[in-house]
Symmetry: C2
């Protein structure tokens, strides 16, 4: 009854952790090979090219994120709780250094020199996340929970930027707690408790 993680999943797992640490050019097939004890050529069997590997990786991440966000929406009825749950997810990740950074945020920085097939997928993820945040904010406004000074789409972009910037700062200062310090006041502001 052992948990069966297929080789290709293992490859994606460690590739993801390597990208989170050093970006697209920060890892090689040899790194993966060493990490999971399989030969380089075997990795090429599963993912013929690097661009393909990362494309599949981002697709998987996108899917996980989408279903994660959807289940958050189902689990909590209050938009405020939904937002808190989303932020809490990253808070935990960053504290435990599990994936201490969003793969897509990491890759977005290198956008200009990524293979187009990867870049377009990153863009898609950013769109999805923005859309989700927008709809949560909109719901919050309709329920009289949030007070926004801008259109929900814009507030969503602001929130997203805050989250990504907070990840970066937490990393730059080697201070996981900084993420929370930066990001929780954003919710407070949305709730209009500052007036």
């Amino acid at each position: 009854m052992e948990s069966k993680t297929s080789t290709s999943e293992k490859i994606l797992d460690i590739a993801q952790s390597l990208i989170v640490a050093g970006g697209y050019n920060g890892f090689s097939y040899a790194d993966i090979s060493a990490a999971i004890g399989i030969r380089k050529a075997s990795i090429h069997h599963h993912f013929p090219t690097k661009a393909e590997l990362v494309s599949v990786l981002v697709d998987r991440y996108k899917r996980q994120a989408e279903s994660g966000l959807e289940s958050v929406r189902k689990q909590f009825s209050s938009p405020a709780e939904q937002l808190r749950s989303y932020l809490n997810y990253w808070q935990t990740c960053i504290r435990d250094a599990s994936p201490s950074f969003c793969v897509c945020a990491m890759l977005a920085g290198e956008m200009q020199m990524l293979p187009e097939e990867v870049a377009s997928r990153i863009r898609a993820h950013f769109h999805n996340l923005a859309r989700w945040l927008t709809s949560v904010l909109r719901a919050g406004v309709e329920q009289g929970l949030f007070r926004l000074n801008n259109r929900p789409e814009e507030e969503a972009q602001m929130l997203m930027a805050s989250v990504h910037g907070a990840m970066l700062s937490a990393r730059a200062f080697s201070d996981p707690g900084l993420f929370t310090k930066i990001v929780t006041p954003q919710i407070t502001k949305l709730l209009g408790q500052d007036c």
Copy 2:
């Protein structure tokens, strides 16, 4: 009377633009060589190792940033204007794609796998920027210009994260205008015009 840019400055210039595009592992001595028409070995003459090259590069950037921020403080007496001027600088950069991203922000993402001599310099820059923003915010509060919901240090961190996140979003969406859309409401909020 030609403007004399020394070779080492040229090397740093194009290295910086390459890092901004693809990070530490996103450029090579061969790239620089091709870009300025000098042999690889000649670059090693100026900067023996890559870690040294990037260290000097970050040092130069840090100095430029510090003196830039200081001159902003001298040029504008109002903290609000000082902040606007800082944000305006990046706005222009991102629109013109001159350096469409902060080198240190770019490198901060790769922190975990950077040579320590580089990493410590990145950290220092983040500290400097945070300190500058903090003092501007504090001055604004003292002058009754800003209404902060948190301590100036924390608001500075929030602002900094916003700026870096906005850079990332602008890049991800290939939309320079997005930077402004994300970042200007932050000043509006500080000015307390939302109440």
